[in-house]
Amino acid sequence: MNSALSLWLFYLLCVVFAPILVLGTIRKTKARLQNRIGPPLLQPLFDLVKLCRKSETLSKTMCGIFRLASVISLADMLLIAWIAPWLCYKPGPDSADIFLIFYLFALTRMFTMLGALDSGSAFGAFGASREATLSLLVEPAALLGFISIGALTGSSDLLQILSFSNAQLSGSPGIWLLVGTAVLLANLVESSRMPVDDPTTHLELTMVHEAMILEASGRNLALIEYTHALRMTILLGLSVQCFMRAIPSIWNAEPAVQGLINLTGIFFLAVLIGIFESISVKLQWRKVPEFIAYSLTMSLLASLIAIGGRAMK
């Protein structure tokens, strides 16, 4: 009982602090690579506190959706955090349907887009239009990898897909590496990071995600920022889960060690993203589909392996 309670506590701490620290880690990495000292790791938290204490400015044209959208998105994201197995410990239900999870992600996106349209600004509208284009492209890339393993297990339950690895797929780490990478690349697009969207830019004409939330301020903005960071962290967690299954020695380790590796993995990927963002150049808008194609290719390869594996049995 006691240990269950402490696990719950650990889980809650992860949900609250991991997104903030992931964001902080990326910023710190980027700053260090530019020879700057950079903000403290907890700066995103300070920013959230600051935003919560600020007053809000609302556009006159909006109806309720703009305010509602951020609340719905956060609730939705917390639900995903509860269902999806992005940490080794999961207090949620015993099943986590892959389609449910990915379309809950889509729900968040839809409400962010509706909120952007509701604000009535020209930027919100074209930010939403760009986001719609991106989501259309990235969805198959993120899903296909998992589905291919799902096809092997005969289930779309993410928990079964992941636990399936032990027995049948322990001999083929390739498929997990591919799926993990596909999710990681898709995550860069989903979370509006480089090279698709530049989260540090001030140029409203080039923004995707930022353009949608230009009109948000105060607490509303704090909710959106946190939701966004949580989404990136959950997806990073899913990538790490895949990578962990590629290495049998990790997978056979103690649960506590696994949990630690999982968490460390998330921050390791955050550092990688920071390094990548420092040396990469934002892609031309017309070239974005090519980048997403990398992710899709990984997924396709994974499904080929999966199909091949099935045929051999």
Partner: protein, 492 residues
């Protein structure tokens, strides 16, 4: 060096200007007026380095617009309409350039003639409307997200493609030109430096040349060298900053962070030379205010160090495949349009216009072969970036070289108390953005009756509007940064 004065009747003006622009080396310098009774057309001959000032007497405050045959005059005609109430008849898109709705309708700031009763309609501004299915407008500014000056951009788009960009300026109009006439000429340089503060040295230099030509005095050789070094340092720091900005806009953080650090070194060189990081208060009519003799060795050392540090950064930037991808073919201005709209400076040279004031209006400091003009033909963002990179190299070389050759002597000559009466003085300088003109007219007592400044941005803002066409909305900031234009220099 002073422009030759010529009276050109209104009937001859169009033909004469067209003929001038057709001949090799013929350029339009500026169109303005002295007090609203005449039109001044300054034309330049880059082959001989000479200039002519055509005066056209105007009656009834109207004259036929030349925009249809000389497109580059469209902007000047709008400004002259604002400031002198001279109406160009037949101008296709006549609307206010500098004076917005909030100015009193009968305000005509620079005309000394009685103006008829004017209505508020005069101040109304109607952006060009692009109509059709699926066309929508994105208004941007005048207040922008970054810490930059104000200006309003209105994009008419079809999906992500820009059909038309209309630029509205004038938000930082301060009345610089009138202020110039109301202060003693010895104080003018301080206002000139503030006309566009990132071209402080260039503006002070142009003011100094114009005033010296009105005194018919020349400064010492040493001062002339020091001024040129100061101008090159300014060019160096601004080009570094512009390239860094370009890298920042495509999200190339490594380059943009390094460039902003290196710009600091360039500003430090400026501080060693002039005592001010932005080189203010250094160049004055008659020479320069102080001799940085004790710092010259260190300046040379720092310049060489900067040269070593910049090389790999520029290589890294231009060798990056994705960065190339972002810049090539974006924001193209064809050489034909560049000539028609009289683009100057970096933007002109990127579109194959062989014009550099340092060479064509040489002042004896540079050797003939020294100003290797960086010419590109593509006219896209990449071409502009390449021109900047090559000019950085030239500037670095020149700073070291000019210090080596620096003649001995004093750095300032005394100037007479009064300027020559009824004269025209011209100061022309290659600022980091391009050709910068200061044109001074004196009255019977040797007082300044009209001080006109033509910043290079005046020519190039239209170039930016052209470059944005048929590009993606996401690429516009890149076009904008590649031109790197001044708002305050235009608005004055």
């Amino acid at each position: 060096m002073n422009p030759k004065h010529e009276i050109v009747p209104i009937s001859d003006r169009e033909k004469k200007l067209n003929d001038w622009l057709k001949k090799p080396g013929g350029r339009l310098g500026h169109i303005t007026s002295i007090d609203g009774k005449q039109l001044i057309t300054l034309v330049l001959d880059t082959e001989t380095g000479s200039s002519f000032c055509w005066e056209t007497p105007i009656e009834h405050s109207t004259y036929p617009s030349l925009t249809h045959t000389v497109p580059q005059s469209h902007w000047y005609e709008r400004t002259v309409w604002d400031m002198f109430n001279l109406t160009p008849t037949g101008h296709p898109r006549l609307k206010p350039n500098l004076l917005h709705e909030s100015y009193a309708p009968d305000l005509v700031p620079l005309a000394h003639v009685e103006v008829n009763s004017l209505t508020a309609e005069r101040r109304q501004y109607k952006p060009m409307e692009v109509t059709g299915e699926g066309i929508y407008e994105i208004p941007v500014g005048p207040i922008h997200a970054g810490i930059i000056e104000p200006g309003h951009f209105r994009f008419s788009c079809m999906g992500e493609v820009i059909f038309n960009l209309e630029i509205r300026l004038g938000y930082v109009h301060r009345g610089v030109e009138r202020q110039m006439c109301s202060v003693p000429w010895r104080h003018q340089r301080f206002i000139a430096e503030a006309a566009a503060s990132d071209s402080a040295a260039a503006n002070a230099y142009a003011n100094a040349i114009a005033i010296e030509s009105l005194c018919e005095e020349a400064t010492t050789a040493r001062a002339e060298y020091l001024r040129s070094i100061s101008l090159e340092v300014e060019r160096l720091s601004m080009h570094i900053s512009d390239l860094g900005g370009l890298a920042g806009d495509i999200g190339f953080l490594a380059i943009s962070a390094t460039m902003s650090r290196l710009r600091g070194s360039a500003l430090r060189i400026g501080e060693l030379l002039t005592g001010s990081r932005f080189q203010r208060g250094f160049i004055c009519p008659g020479g320069v205010v102080s001799d940085p003799a004790s710092n010259l060795m260190q300046i040379q050392k720092m310049t060489k160090q900067l040269q070593i540090e910049l090389k790999p950064v520029l290589q890294f930037f231009f060798n990056n495949q994705v960065a190339n991808d972002r810049m090539e073919g974006i924001g193209r201005v064809s050489p034909r349009l560049a000539i028609d709209f009289g683009l100057v400076g970096v933007a002109g040279r990127a579109s194959n216009i062989d014009y550099d004031v340092r060479r064509h209006f040489a002042r004896g400091v540079y050797r003939q072969d020294e100003i290797a003009i960086a010419i590109e033909t593509a006219g896209d963002v990449m071409a502009l970036a390449r021109v900047r990179a090559r000019e950085i190299e030239t500037s670095l070389y020149l700073i070291v070289e000019l210090i080596d050759r620096l003649p001995e002597g004093t750095v300032r000559v005394p100037l007479p108390e009064k300027l020559k009466s009824n004269q025209i003085g011209l100061g022309i300088v290659e600022a980091h953005r391009g050709e910068l003109l200061h044109l001074i007219f004196t009255d019977n007592d040797g007082g300044v009756k009209r001080y006109a400044i033509k910043d290079p941005s005046v020519n190039n803002w239209t170039g930016l509007a052209i470059s944005a066409r048929n590009n993606l909305v996401t690429d516009f900031p890149l076009c904008n940064k590649s031109f790197g234009l001044s708002y305050s220099g235009h608005d004055l």
